[in-house]
Symmetry: C2
Amino acid sequence: MSKSKLRVLAQDDQAVCCSPMVREPLGEGDAIDLARMFKALSDPVRLRLLSLIASHEDGEACVCDLTGPFDVSQPTISHHLKVLREAGLVGSERRATWVYYWVLPTALARLSSLLQTSDAPTGVGAR
Amino acid sequence: MSKSKLRVLAQDDQAVCCSPMVREPLGEGDAIDLARMFKALSDPVRLRLLSLIASHEDGEACVCDLTGPFDVSQPTISHHLKVLREAGLVGSERRATWVYYWVLPTALARLSSLLQTSDAPTGVGAR
């Protein structure tokens, strides 16, 4: 229920922001907000965590699925997951022993739209 | 001539990487490379600079067009432009007095594809 609400809010945000940045200059407020999200993506372990969660069966992953592939400690993984959550890129919920994570698709779609060029999806074209 | 070559190389890169991260887990090497590009986008002034360049008439902007909108010094703008260039997001060329910048569309398209969800382009859908 609360997750659906979150998704609706994210969709509203997306309606306000962002058209592709190649179309019009980005406003100061949007830039601050978006830079925070890109900062969360600026670490290789966080990017791989996000991708592991996003591509996981059922679209969600238990924190117990997320430590194996990395050569970093459990507290470090937890810290990275917190950064992703605080940036609005993933949602999480504790169920019994484990915390489960899922990607918030509207957040990814918002960033994806922002970076679309007029030549998307192939990216081929004149500058 | 050299710019066309750059674009062809970037397209080849894109063919290797990246399918949407929701489809399959991102590899370690790609994650390092992509995190570096996202880091360049993790600053509000850099995001606005990139957007100003991308949305500028003719798709390129003189450095003389890029200082006015910002409340930071010329050396700071130059530093940010250097970060964008080193991350492979913009190209540049000196012509007489001024340096001109343009966005490398394949780089933006690569990041945009990576972040696409199965629900793109609307971003509406279940997790």
